[in-house]
């Protein structure tokens, strides 16, 4: 061994995550394997986290639905966790054929330790010794995403849909990886959904805070939890396309962001629903009781508005929005707490449009511009929610596309406005605002 080799830097660790469409068919899977090998041949040590192939998870869910209407969560986890293992074993075979050593590990073998909340477990520890040993042994390591092992009962757990992103970021943090690359069927994070806004621009850099707001506002390119995890451990995320080369979008901590535009992107969601409790009883702790019940039912509440009670005899009206899929559960949870209000009203024709930008912290005029633009379009704003870097408006679901287009235009986010390359090609189906 030469002196130059002994004094060389230890190889950087790169974590690469491939989503279900990126490993769907044999050619897709081999393409992912080739990407992984190329990264290894650049000198990095590589850990790749894979999702289940294409429709595998849907097929497993179907098998469960044929057996039981209410499958046991523990058994759902045992069932669903097989999908990612299949992807990893196959990818290890493909990598071996390309002349590199590879081993696949289950979430449990990879040291992903979680709590016992089956089907929605949270990672509480990553014991990466076995991965580290495999990397030291010159292996490429494939890790089954979306799953772990519960700390108490040693049962297989899953992290919920999209949990593979979180697996990847958690491993990147534990291994002190230089970057966590998330490969999907979109080329990065866009200034709006290009299916709605044809001149939407691929963003080169986004801050963790902006990405968090985007994920919370309906952008599906990255799972919210994985962005939180990356921010907490300061792991740069690189969102890239599996189907084409070239850089995607870097998600980094804010001080690394080159520019801080007033508004970065328009996100949207048309999968919202609103619950209104009319005439909530004027008792101390009532709101706490209601939202505790919703949290216990695992319902994420988004925008909340409470009107002042008009009199001491007539209670306030309390409205909040939830994901449409959670509506039934939300109503059942509230009803289970007893008679808290005169009436429970629901509205499933609710959408949300949000503008996000780190620069708006110091520019109070942004909200006014949003309201004016929507007003000019004749779009009624039903609820408003703001953070220092986000303004969300709850509107009728059938006006969401119009709102996205008008806001994108008004804030000059398009590629024509900023002279950047226009996204083209079939795989540029960006997910911001879906």
């Amino acid at each position: 061994m030469s002196a130059a080799e002994t004094t060389s830097q230890p190889a950087e660790i790169v974590v690469m995550k491939f989503g279900g469409t990126s490993v769907a068919g044999p050619e897709d899977l081999k393409r992912a394997a080739a990407r992984i090998v190329a990264e290894r041949e650049r000198g990095s040590k590589v850990v790749a986290v894979l999702s289940a192939r294409g429709k595998t998870t849907d097929d497993l869910v179907r098998q469960a639905s044929e057996i039981s209407d209410r499958p046991e969560p523990r058994e759902m986890d045992m069932l669903l966790s097989t999908g990612e293992r299949i992807s990893c074993a196959l990818c290890a075979m493909a990598i071996t054929d390309l002349g590199h050593s590879a081993i696949s590990l289950t979430g449990s073998q990879a040291g992903i330790v979680t709590d016992s909340s089956h089907t929605k477990a949270r990672i509480i520890d990553v014991r990466a010794d076995r991965i580290q040993a495999a990397l030291d042994g010159d292996n490429i390591v494939l890790v089954a995403g979306f799953q772990g092992v519960s700390t108490d009962s040693k049962d297989v757990t899953t992290l919920g849909r999209g949990g593979s992103d979180t697996t990847a970021v958690a491993l990147a943090a534990a291994l002190q990886a230089s970057v966590c690359e998330i490969y999907t069927d979109v080329a990065g994070v866009f200034s709006a959904d290009p299916r709605i806004v044809p001149d939407a621009r691929k963003l080169s850099v986004v801050s963790f805070e902006e990405m968090l707001e985007m994920s919370a506002s309906g952008a599906k390119v990255l799972q919210l939890r994985s962005v939180e995890y990356a921010r907490n451990y300061d792991i740069p995320i690189h969102c890239r396309s599996s189907f084409e080369s070239g850089p995607g979008t870097l998600v980094v901590s804010e001080n690394e962001t080159m520019e801080r535009p007033l508004v970065t992107a328009v996100a949207h969601s048309d999968q919202e629903a609103r619950v209104t409790l009319a005439g909530v009883k004027n008792e101390p702790g009532m709101a706490g009781r209601i939202f505790t019940a919703l949290a216990d039912a695992n319902v994420n509440v988004d925008v909340i508005i409470q009107n002042e009670p008009v009199s001491t005899t007539h209670g306030a009206d309390l409205s909040f929005t939830v994901a449409r899929d959670d509506l039934r559960q939300a109503v059942e949870a509230i009803e289970a707490t007893g008679q808290n209000s005169d009436e429970i009203l629901t509205d499933e024709r609710i959408g949300k449009v949000s503008i996000i930008g780190a620069g708006m912290r110091s520019h109070p005029g942004v909200a006014a511009q949003v309201f004016r633009v929507l007003g000019e379009q004749g779009i009624n704003i039903e609820m408003i929610s703001t953070s220092p870097i986000k303004i969300s408006c709850v509107i009728s679901s059938d006006r969401v596309d119009d709102a996205v287009r008008a806001l994108h235009e008004s804030f000059g986010l398009g590629s024509e406005s900023v002279h950047e390359e226009e996204p083209t090609g079939v795989h540029h189906r960006a997910r911001v605002g879906q």
Copy 2:
């Protein structure tokens, strides 16, 4: 708790194993679950070992073949082991719906510890603490068959096709179960394959020794290794149909066998091949070298014949039979040992017919009758192999059915001859002699 309860016998443990066709469709799987629950409700503690559903394993093998021509054995095991896990998770759901507690365990979780021979691992220990704890907690336990965890590297291993039978028997031994019930799509062990011999008789009792010979002679109803394991630990096996009730065939140690007929069954195989080494060099240790190479290549050699060398210059001719699937591997293994003989000849049109019976130990005339019957049919006997309770004849594969029928008739094994109930119904596709 009443005095009667405290002094009652501890519940017996029953191990039930369901093959792939027994859990193929949703209705099949629910039927298996109902069988398991019925056994539980009779008061037994139940451990059920399941195979992968229907074509699941074939589908996984296909996925691997789309990726690699020579998939890594370690990764094949990771891949294939998912099939049984799916069956177990789904069956646990079905049992829960029937009002009983059930948990599924992987081979690793169930404590099936194996060596590291991927795709053909051998069980070296069964650490059944977790199963025992689950049974004590009033659970029905579903165990993924065919798989374990390697003792050194903690990798997922598989026991080879049909390994679920071995899983079931090994668990029955470790748990001191009263019986290991093997549920398949056939009603039991028959005196011959009913597809060839319409009046073949379902046997009510067979000894381990007879069953070993039958499994080794082509009967597929039970895997050879599982019968060996059952004999070593004296675990009664009950071969039954998943699709109908009523007793099947009990496989027990010989002293429990009620009757000891001269001949119990005719078994056959038409999946054989013969290798002949013509003019084997006359060197000490030559045969040892050849068969060591075959064993190292994991080729099971069946019948072996060596002619005396006709002169000191011309070597002996050495012939042996192998499973037809292993032929290529066998020839490659021999060629790799160097130039041992003048020529290597192969014959893929080879079949085997065997008669098995514990009673023939004390009746030397059986072999003569076999040869006479085959001679009367004009069937040429190419090789002969005997044990105290078995006579096998290697014959042309296209005469196997004729040989089975003639021997079955000659030894009076049919249901008409012995006045037992004739097997009927679509599921009576017995496997002896396949």
